[in-house]
Amino acid sequence: MKIAVYSGNIPSTTFIENLIEGLCNSGFEILLFGKQTQNVSYSGNVKAYPTPVNNLKLVFFVIKESVKLFFKDSKLFFKFHKTVREKNKSLKSFFKNAGVLLPVLNNKPDIFHIQWAKTVEMYPELFELFDCKVALSLRGAHINYSPLLDKNLAEAYRKNFPSIDGFHAVSNAIAAEAMKYGADEKKIKVIHSSVKDELFEKYAELFRGDTKLEIISVGRFHWKKGYHYALDAMKILADKGISFNYTIVAQGVIPEEILFLLDEYRLGEKVRIIQGLKHEELIMKLQSSHLLLLPSVEEGIANVVLEAMAVGVPVITTDCGGMSEVVEDNNNGYTVSVRDPETIAAKVIQFIGTEFNAKKDLALKGKQTIEKEFTREKQIREFTDFYESILKNN
């Protein structure tokens, strides 16, 4: 089975690259389309068909691919030409559009899998041009908030969702959101993300530390990560005289808002910001913390929570997006409502007061949840079923 993965860029984000690797290992033939941003070599069954960014190269590319298509399937070539000419008034947009479509037509995948909903509008011609099934992933912001403000995007979803053959939702919560834009419930399959198997081997007994409570959060600086609420909670803890360190592992410029709150709350020494870490270092850092805190207001399912649980770190997470599909309060971790710093602080205090064995039990249950529900093997099996059902259904 030939699966085309379109995520805009080659290489893509870590979790999509992981997915590609997994699918390839279980016998799928993977074709990658999009702009090449870095040089990468894929092995075995993965082939990349990048579209050039440079204008001159793009023109040559379109000519070359057009000739190829003409000799392969002249009927399709004329059909393609007519459609794309009608859609694009300017020559520049014609070339851009053609540059994206041609390699797909030349390589005819069985399923064209669009990773980001926002790009759904780029490919409606595909549905008409040749018989290719289209799958769409429903992830994070693209479904949860972008279309709230961007009415054109919401309209594009309503227009295009009915012609999608199958939806992959990263959580039940996001599936429900997508149905508001006309995604057919019967065509949606919830496939949770996964953690790498080797993480389970790193599972370690609870971090004892010495005296100070170590709390950690991981994720880029963005309002949806809710760090401002986390700092509110830290201020409450500090006012109660609780001794702790709070570490934020993030990337990029520290936003004004965060700098302001740190100054305002005089949290200076208690809060540390670390600029990015390699994955292995991150896992070590997680394991030398007592608690992982996810203060987000929006998520699909945050991978860092899955990873922390897999390696035995207790988590406090908001119930945003699909998080409560992973964490059950007081069972395998702790959950709090979004935008509620008081409760975050209360949970931290509850954690401090919990007996060591009970904490250990909670961390163990966390690991068991991930082992049962969020393994690579299960994810790939579900994707296989997903693709097969799409092909079968028509």
Partner: protein, 391 residues
Amino acid sequence: MRIGIVLPEVPGYSETFFNSKIKGLQESGHYIIVFSNKKARNKFSYEVKSSYPVFEKKSFKQSGLFAVVLIKTFIKNPAITVNLIRLESKTGKSFSESLKSVYINSHILSGKLDRIHFGFTTMILKRENVAKAIGAKMSISFRGYDINVFPLKNKDCYKNLWRKVDKVHTISDYLYRKALSLGLPKEVEFQKITPAIDISSFKVKDEIGKINKKIKILTVGRLNWIKDYETSISAMKILNERGIDFTYNIIGEGAELERLTFAVYQSGLQDKVNFLGKKEHKEINEYMRESDIYLQPSMQEGFCVSVLEAQATGLQCIVSDAEGLKENVIDGVTGWVVKRRSPEKFAEKITEVINLPDHKRKETAMNARKRVETEFTIEGQKKKFNKFFTE
């Protein structure tokens, strides 16, 4: 006296603060030149000089212009130019950096000024030595962003500046205290002049003290994190859960629209909270007249003119305890002050105000209007500015 005022751009018609200040100074016989970073299109009652452009990329055009401007400036004002280069080198700048300073300040150097005033503290960066070079006294205005936010990103940014300033204008006691904590020496003279509003252009609402059955709540201001609309939206969620019927209008535009739209959606308030975008001065007054309660949930404020306008219109003002706002509203007298970043406290206070008898609300609104009429008038502000520049 020849007074130069340095601003990012020439003040628009709605910027009463600068316009009335300039007018007042002209009325007392001073000659005013406004130095702006942008080219002005309209005619003004005062002289306007704009700086030469600094292009993003290095280009032939830039180098040519640079050379021409330097030569021109030197021929016109040889002594001042040499002075500036010397002063810049003394503060440790390289020769080419000193030349750059001549270029970016050349529009100011020929003004024959007795006094040079920077309308924003951040405007002075890279211009610290200009006043001394031309032999003028130097003064600055503190604005919220200058003191509250900019130094967080740029540690010690004002270190070279403080010793060179002759006089400081602050819009609130709080900003002055904060500047002291940032290293402003106590010896530097300062004067507090709060913003003022033209009360005649703010029509009071009808039937002060009465409120709509469906409560109308309003906030005006840029959609910026420091305004903390997430807190007021969370407060609305609490009100909604308690069965209070209301609409909440937010006037203003800005970078946080997506974030706030999501907060409204997540709180299930799409039917109750409206983002109205930017509105003209007159329309704002109309919205205020139709509203019952004005909220200002800001994390921090220098002073906040919108709250003055709301008080002048006769609204029930509930503001956060951001330092500047505590000076703007007298808690329990002209409005109410509640803990910042606390949706619960805002919701409680709104409920409390809704449950007050009409005459109580009327009393508060009248107190507020009266205070604005006496303490925040344009006339008073003009006088204070004259004093600021002449004494």
